[in-house]
């Protein structure tokens, strides 16, 4: 479980997120949704320690990550996995080497054990047999799955996904969503997904935080997101004709 308490972050005096409070639950896909530029990625970067907040706390199982010394933060970081928007795969390494990287760096596993783990993970994300390909040789969807494979290769406790299906066709996007959902359950991870894709919200949004203009505007679940009284959320959810039509029919 991860809890954020009163998180505020400013850049050059400009407040990007303000007083955000939320509990991200273990074994669930926790979604952070909101319009582009509302502060979703900033919150995520604060949570993983890439940005230092101006105030507030990020509690991993009750311990404040911000107040930890470098060594303690390192311990937490080894339990994190992150899927970046564009994959962030290491260009100079093959798919197999990318997935194996965290194992090489932080485990004492034998080469055989590492190979076994890599093959298991690649099979799990449906990339078996692609071991020797370089990131430049992968399609957009494959890159996301490869990024996911690397993120979970060390069986992390916490999985962060930054807009995992941006730039993907709807069918591939659903495959990625389902994969994230299944892996969350399989490895009992605390999963945090940033998205502004309503399909993802309806598919996997077990717990949702809606950010509007840098503030936590609404919290709920995929069941309640379509029936909220919140004006900003309503405008976000039903911003497309498609969503309005589908909802009226449904």
């Amino acid at each position: 479980m991860i809890e954020v308490k009163n998180i505020t972050k400013k850049f050059d005096g400009r407040t990007v997120i303000e007083d955000i409070n939320f509990v991200f639950e273990k074994g669930k896909t926790n979604l952070i949704i909101g319009e582009s530029g509302c502060g979703k990625t900033t919150l995520l970067k604060v949570m993983v320690g890439l940005h230092k907040p101006d105030s507030g706390a990020v509690l991993y199982e009750g311990k404040d990550f911000i107040q930890m010394n470098a060594e303690e933060q390192q311990t937490i970081r080894k339990e994190l996995g992150m899927l970046f928007q564009a994959g962030a795969l290491f260009d100079s390494l093959t798919l197999e080497e990318n997935v194996q990287f965290p194992l090489d760096m932080f485990t004492t596993m034998s080469e055989e054990e590492k190979k076994e783990r890599v093959n298991f993970i690649l099979k799990r994300v449906k990339l078996e047999g692609k071991n020797k390909l370089y990131p430049a040789e992968l399609s957009g969807g494959m890159k996301k799955r490869a990024g996911l494979a690397r993120a979970i290769s060390s069986f992390p406790k916490y999985l962060f996904c930054d807009e995992p299906n941006s730039g993907l066709d709807p069918k591939t996007a659903i495959v990625i969503d389902e994969l994230i959902y299944e892996l969350t359950k399989e490895f009992n991870m605390t999963t945090i997904v940033i998205t502004h894709d309503m399909n993802s919200v309806i598919e996997i949004g077990e717990k949702i935080l809606f950010i509007h203009k840098g503030k936590a505007e609404w919290t709920g679940t995929k069941e309640s997101v379509l029936n909220s009284d919140n004006e900003a959320l309503d405008s976000f959810v039903f911003s497309s004709e498609f969503m309005r039509t589908v909802y009226k029919k449904g």
């Binding site: 994190l80 970046f84 962030a88 795969l89 260009d91 760096m105 932080f106 962060f160």
Partner: protein
Amino acid sequence: MKLLYQLGEYVLLMSRVFSKPEKWSVYKKQIIKEIYQIGITSLPIVAIISVFMGGVITIQAAFGFTSPWVPLYAVGFTTRESIILEFSPTIVSLILAGKVGSNIASEIGAMRITEQIDALEIMGVNSACYLILPKILAAVFINPFLIAISMFLGLVGGYVMGIAAGAVTSYEYIFGIQSFFETWKIWYAFTKVIVFAFIITSIPAYYGYYTRGGALEVGKSSTRAVVMSSIMILIFNLIITQLFFT
């Protein structure tokens, strides 16, 4: 003010670079990769430049010494002194600052803008140490060999082209390059090589690491890296020369 800020940032980065690696076995593999990337791939350009420059220095020296009082073996002596003291350690390092420096700055810069460095940090890897330390160690190790090869090929180039141009005889050239040899000049040359190797890897790495923005900024970082490395090579060349010669 900006230069001071950058200097502070560079020092802080270097303090992260020279911290304890997470796992030496992974770093060893990286160092070997970098030795190939920085050293072995630079060999062809270094060899070509050295042979031709050796030839040019010999011909210029031969035709510059018009006085009958200057013995012809002075051509070999001048070629050796020019190559060992200045051409191979300094000029070749300046060329490497262009080739290796731009490569390092753009590689690390591209990793920065595509969030690969963030990915390393989130995993708990000291990205500065992992990305930069192997490059510095590789260059400091391989560049002296590269420059030694450059010195040898420069002298060979001088011999071949000097004779081909009729500027010097084989005996006089070989006698010249063996004359008045002082060992400390080799120490001087290789001290410069090691300092320059550090400059041409650490400065571009700094510019790459702090790249912000997109592809355009990667290009700008690469240019700034080469310019700054070249300037620093010239400044340290002067400082080391002053220290050795006075």
